[in-house]
Assembly symmetry: C2
Homo-oligomer: 80 residues x 2
């Protein structure tokens, strides 16, 4: 399979999930904060603060970009 096409599919479904499931984003953000605890006590708080600070802007950006542009940004699709 093609990583670029896979990525476009995933981002499209992610955007739909964010639009249709009101708790999807909250669950994702909470999950990410839990993963911060893997980093140990020193880094965990920094990691959680970072997520609190940037998750909203990241989601806004993700919802306002085309899937192909997001996948290009990450390096999974050739950028135009």
């Amino acid at each position: 399979g093609d990583v670029c096409q896979d990525c476009i599919q995933m981002v499209t479904d992610l955007q739909n999930a964010v639009r249709t499931n009101s708790t999807f984003v909250e669950a994702l953000v909470n999950h990410a904060k839990e993963e911060c605890d893997r980093l140990g006590p020193g880094m965990a708080d920094m990691c959680k603060n970072y997520i609190s600070q940037y998750s909203e802007i990241a989601i806004q950006m993700m919802m306002h970009m085309q899937p192909k542009d997001i996948c290009g940004l990450v390096g999974f699709c050739e950028e135009v």
Copy 2:
């Protein structure tokens, strides 16, 4: 579509691309470093150093985990 299944598909194809295309990882890492320049001169070097330092371990980890476990870690699949 289901974000978990999309993620598993993408990670599976990513792992295959890393295994079969010797320049895939290098291109991805170089792309990521270029994106660092979007952060401005102060942050760009920090970002590039961070990528240099962690990209190899991240790729090793990605290649030694099951796609479903990676997608669970990121929060796109329910963890078992």
